[in-house]
Symmetry: C2
């Protein structure tokens, strides 16, 4: 892992960019850390949504809430064909760009390599995963393979999209506590597909939280509560 | 309203039994109040489930949490054919005993009369309704007619049971914020019927919280959080 920026501090949260190499792919990421005295060894992995990137407004908000209110560090990386991994003239697209099986396997490898590298630097501790929409398309297969992740926040996804077969295979293997957000009037992922995916998840301790509204209209209070949820399960609340 | 017991105090919560007359029916109830210095003018109506009664363990737990942690008074009344309204030798039964339309109308009247009487005594303030299973069969029609109720906790019910037609008529008329609990493996109320009822509720601010488990297996932490939810919406948190 190479640091590609100096640490900057904004509103009590330190932010540093990094790059790492995974199977020949160059993965750009960001590490957010609470001020030293507040850091408690917990780490969250933040998976951004489709057409979004590692420093989208809501990813930044979640990272800062986790750091400031709960002492939890976090990282985000750009997905394939997103953010800094977007080629000139290309538009971010999580559907046509995906060879379902290969892309899913690569993304899981990217995340595991990122977790290895960041734990080498910060030390080992309980890990959370947070990811909605494409963040769940990526997160579900990751959770099924990564025992270091002890709690997850998923949602806005279903048995749907380019890697729906991988999602349905991964879901029953998941055992960690998780909360799954569903937008009742989701115009992208049909409600029934979301319910079907929640149903398939193996965790005994899982909760579906559904609210009225379109795909991207998750209420701010609901977003904020996702960080309380992760913090509670990382035993820092 | 007549008091039918002396107030007793247990674990900082005062409990008094009452009876009131509504359209010729004698309605037995209980009032729980926080210690005087903690009382804040808020009131919750607690609707018990089928085959249960006004002082079931979970009703008592909710009443005491509301009083002790949030300064909220509450009342519960026995439903028709339940608790003290059960005739000798009769078993509590919320299905065969119900003439759907008449029973629903009577129960709504019972609750409104109880609210009138208790507000005469305690004064007027924001009111919450809490009721699962039969507590939702009763609560939904009540909410549709009672503007004094500003927040509700419902669940474990669907477009199902003797008054399902009344439920489906009432649901779109409800506008207050509410949380709806659903047990994902409910063996009594089919999941799809529960989702259908949540869908029909008119409130813009509504949330479905679903957890794995059978009808009566709502996790304790979920029960406790229902009181936080009501308190937050009664503006006492």
């Amino acid at each position: 892992m190479q640091w590609t920026s100096e640490p900057t501090i904004s509103r009590k949260v330190e932010e540093t960019e990094f790059k790492l190499n995974c199977q020949g792919r160059s993965i750009p990421g960001i590490l957010w850390r609470p001020e030293k005295q507040g850091e408690n060894g917990r780490l969250a992995l933040l998976g951004h949504g489709g057409t979004s990137h590692k420093r989208s407004d809501y990813i930044l908000a979640v990272a800062r809430w986790l750091a400031r209110s709960h002492g939890i560090a976090s990282i985000a990386i750009d997905g394939p064909g997103h953010g800094e991994r977007l080629e000139t003239g290309q538009k971010p697209d999580f559907q046509t760009a995906w060879d379902a099986e290969e892309t899913t396997a690569n993304i899981v490898a990217d995340w595991r390599a990122s977790l290895d590298a960041v734990q080498d630097f910060l030390g080992q501790g309980p890990v959370a995963y947070w990811g909605l929409s494409m963040g769940t398309m990526i997160g579900l297969p990751l959770l099924a393979q990564e025992p270091r992740i002890v709690v997850a926040l998923l949602g806005l996804m279903g048995v749907w999209g380019p890697n729906k077969k991988q999602l349905l295979e991964a879901a029953p293997k998941i055992t960690c506590p998780l909360r799954f957000l569903l937008q009742w009037d989701d115009e992208i992922v049909p409600r029934e597909r979301g319910l079907m995916l929640f149903d398939a998840i193996g965790s005994k301790n899982k909760a579906l939280h559904a609210h009225p509204g379109l795909h991207s209209a998750v209420p701010m209070i609901t977003m904020r509560k996702t960080t309380h949820y992760l913090a509670a399960h990382l035993n820092v609340d």
